[in-house]
Amino acid sequence: MAERRLIPTAGLLLVAAVLYMTLGAGGNWGFVLPFRGAKLVALLLVGVAISTSTVLFQTITRNRILTPSIMGFDALYVLLLTGVVYGFGGQAYLDLPPQVLFLFNVVLLVGASLLLFGTLLGRAQGDLMRLILTGIIFGTLFSSVTGFFQRLIDPNEFAIVQVSSYARFTRIETDLLAIASLLVAGCLIVAWRLRHQLDVLALGPKAAVNLGVDPRRGQLVVLTLIAVLVSVSTALVGPVVFLGLLVVSLAHLVTPSAHHAVILPAAAMISAIVLVAGQTIMERVLSLATPLSVVVDFVGGLVFLGLLLKGLRR
């Protein structure tokens, strides 16, 4: 059944990873392995963070169209980052070690998203259209305010923010890898331990209460996990809007299962395959003619439209 397809998926991921590490290496392994290894780890982290946050978000909102990025989590992260640079001034900001800055941003995003999305989910539960509209308005609002801040700040400081505002897979912030791995690992452990409760939460708040699972508590825990995971992926490669939607839809096709014990690893591996194989093709075959994020967002955007139209027709 569905869980058996996890093994070929894992095989495919392994092949993609090996190809990424070895293709066109040119023999200088002492340089190539650590250099590409760090980028590979980053791609894997981003892939897992995005897919897991998307699965979790779709579980608590009970839909398969919305993702944290569509709801503006990434945009909120960039906004907070811009706000911090504006508030502190770029030099003071740069004097702090990047890990401290990153953790500071993570804490800010967790707080802000619990505040914003925690109340929103409490009120708009089950109202998909309201969630979509709010998400689109949030996303636009966050990026507009970010744009406004960026016009106010010094051009040198703007350069700091700009790096985080666009998706990029070729220049990854590798100095955050250690702390990012720790955070992602922590989130994955929590999500895995919650996997059965997540299955129940997906039935809806009333059914969850009936089965003895507190939906409000589940929502808050899950929102915290999402905020941490989104922080990691946005800090490493910037906002990628439609990757989560694309890979989770694929996962539901490949391994149709109601159990998070299947869908979480499936989505994570598919997400990693898309990123690693995609980046290999972009770097080695197409010699960086197009950024991977453009392709992912293009295909993912089509999937989003397709799902939306299908959902509206039903």
């Binding site: 996997r195 059965h196 409760q197 299955d199 129940v200 997906a202 039935l203 809806g204 009333k206 059914a207 209460v209 009936n210 089965l211 003895g212 699972v213 507190d214 149709p256 109601a258």
Partner: protein, 250 residues
């Protein structure tokens, strides 16, 4: 026994329930009836901790609702909420399997599988067990949901308007199954019913709510009279008797 003591509930300035005290007996079917907006569903939701209690106290046997751990109550009492769009992609068997969650917490054992099989058999769902819920008719879906609550293996089973959108054949067969559950499996069933005649025909105990207060309470054969219908529902309908059961002429 479910004991409700001094229960009031309001939304803003609107009083939904005003100082309700009642005992729902252990065993048999208790029906909550009343006009639209009388507070029936609210009362049921409060008993099932779907909404938090504002004032008053509800106990289910020795468990205090709102104070005892939710997963302990989940092994004592199950609720079937009003027509829910519950996970349309689940198969009937997967849905019923979720009924065992309070017992196995995600790791189903042999006993859990046996109870799911028993629920599927008891509700004649074998031919449907691998079908996704969104391919079923309203009656079949309702039957699957009740089978899930049955598999939850609780002493108390609460149902909020289970006959909504069901035709007369499906309604009668559902009520007959509930009678079976009460008599054969010794479950206590509390059901919100829209149609007073279904309550007269199948319930052992009847609570009529009107504007958030208790209008009448007792066995249907003594409680349901044309005066009671006039008082609770505000309409003059003659009540005749068929055997020992009252019947409201509509």
């Amino acid at each position: 026994m479910i004991r409700v003591d001094g229960l009031s509930y309001r939304i803003g300035e609107q009083h939904i329930l005003s100082d309700i005290s009642l005992d729902l007996p252990r065993g048999g079917i208790s029906a909550l009836v009343g006009p639209n907006g009388a507070g029936k569903s609210t009362l049921l939701s409060l008993i099932a901790r779907l909404i938090p209690i504002q004032t008053g106290r509800i106990t289910v046997d020795d468990l205090v609702v709102g104070q005892c751990a939710s997963d302990i109550l989940a092994r004592k009492l199950a609720i079937l909420p009003q027509s829910d769009d519950i996970a349309p992609r689940l198969t009937v068997r997967e849905l019923i399997g979720f009924g065992r969650f309070p017992h196995h917490k995600g790791r189903p054992g042999v006993d859990d599988r046996r109870k799911v099989d028993a629920a599927i058999e008891a509700f004649d769902l074998e031919p449907l067990q691998h079908r996704p819920l969104d391919t079923l008719s309203g009656g079949q879906r309702q039957r699957s949901l009740i089978a899930m609550a049955f598999a939850q293996d609780t002493d108390y089973l609460l149902l909020d308007e289970p006959l909504n959108n069901l035709d007369i054949a499906a309604s009668r067969s559902l009520m007959a199954r509930l009678r079976d559950l009460a008599e054969v499996n010794n479950r206590s069933i509390v059901v919100v019913l829209h149609d007073l005649n279904f309550a007269c025909g199948y319930a052992d105990f009847l609570v009529a709510l009107t504007a958030g207060r208790i209008g009448a309470m007792g066995p249907p054969s003594t409680v349901v009279t044309s005066q009671m219908v006039a008082k609770v529902f505000g309409t003059k309908a003659p009540v005749i008797r068929v055997g020992d059961r009252p019947l409201v002429q509509v």
